[in-house]
Subunit: 151 residues, 4 copies
């Protein structure tokens, strides 16, 4: 399984359209046999976990706080780091590919970490700070790009 | 599931008798529906994961290094922290109960963290530094004690 | 002193022109009574520490590795975190203002963390990802901007 | 300076007698040219910093929280980690020798980390968990033992 963990990064609060996009992404990832790792909280993270569970996938939530109960209800494996936003690095390190959905400065920081660590990064309506980010416009397209990196 | 994650802590190298004890412990935990979280490496950690997999359980390995491939072959969910022994705190925080098997100074540090965080600690042939550690002498007995804390 | 710690962030390898700019920045910061916190390694970090020491300033190096001896020779207070690039968050949290000099993805990640934490960010020939970054073109100008945030 | 950083570990709350002992230890360390690194909070940490400042020493406080202002008033260099008790590892890694004064489970965890990392440990009325801990009964005696490790 360890070659098939994909990080979904994005804001903890988002509008309905982005939430639905994250949910569709999570579903498509799970359908393709991927496990999702994310920050375990709301917004894009929750959408992705919800979608993954609809398709029977496994979800990991690496939390900033000290309590596993902070996780959204769609997280199977909550990890309580107590490290604050330092937990973002753990998410990126563990994933084979990182997908960014929308997002603000926190997402930019995770994206930049991923690029620093030479992880493949796929973007869905996110920051455009490097040509190394594979830009896509739908969840299906994003998953098709991810598949290329995980033979 | 988040109320049923048990940390198994112990040395990365151990003799055959202790390995077998860790394996029996992992098996008994999985039989009782517990997920195991550990440091993901060899010795006691590997024994516990191996046992859990024999009984169909789920295993989480929170690794000190930067690569998920450092995990022993019985880890389902490898988490690559890149934090070195700092990862021990993540293991303890995430667990509802901590079981210590044998172990040297690393195990003592995790045990002490668990006591500092007021987590229940069950011991199997381990450090005797506090009366708060529930001393047991077999894996079955240890799991019986754990069950008391997770209604 | 704790209101007067400024983070200098930038790449661990840089050309001579950028090194000189970092050195001038460090000198100007120390002249104005600021303590410098940085990642403690080479390139921009070393330049800034060297400049600060020329002006009698105090320098803190928060290292990714496990050994204080990894610090460049101009670091007064080496902190060995063993957390890898996770140490970048510690640098940003501790500083009252962050100055970015040039830099690649690692600098972008630190910049983004600073913006996420609402720290003031001053830029010298660095990433242009937000209008919140106060753009400056010389070390003297950068320090003049920093002073505005630390009365 | 980097060979002369000594960690003083102990509880954040203590009685007057232990506080005075920590203060005398800090003073004696500073007189001998040592820099003190500690957790930056109250109790033994504050006593040691206060003593060090009385003798003109430098003090580093590696804080669990996100704000440098959490440091006790005798900390010269506050480091805000936001890592909670994970910061204890940073303290131990950075020090050349660790001195433990009294203390509860948090101190035991730090002590155990120090032993795990093969750092010399000197104890003053603290946990007796290993013969590797050099037991002493006064601050002067403790500093005399420390000196042996820092040629």
């Amino acid at each position: 399984m360890r070659n098939r963990i994909i990080a979904v990064i994005g804001a903890g609060q988002c509008d309905q359209r982005i939430y639905k996009m994250a949910e569709a992404l999570g579903k498509e990832l799970a359908r393709n046999g991927f496990t999702i790792i994310c920050g375990g909280l709301g917004g894009v993270m929750e959408g992705a976990c919800k979608g993954a569970k609809e398709a029977g996938g496994l979800t990991i939530g690496v939390l900033p706080g000290e309590q596993v109960h902070d996780a959204n209800p769609f997280v199977d494996v909550p990890i309580a780091t107590g490290m604050g936003i330092g937990r973002n690095i753990v998410i990126v390190r563990t994933a084979q590919v990182v997908v960014a959905v929308d997002g603000s400065f926190g997402t930019l920081a995770e994206l930049a970490f991923a690029l620093q660590l030479n992880k493949p990064v796929v973007g869905l309506e996110t920051w455009d700070v490097s040509e190394k980010i594979v830009k896509t416009s739908t969840p299906v397209e994003a998953v098709n790009e991810i598949i290329k990196y995980v033979e």
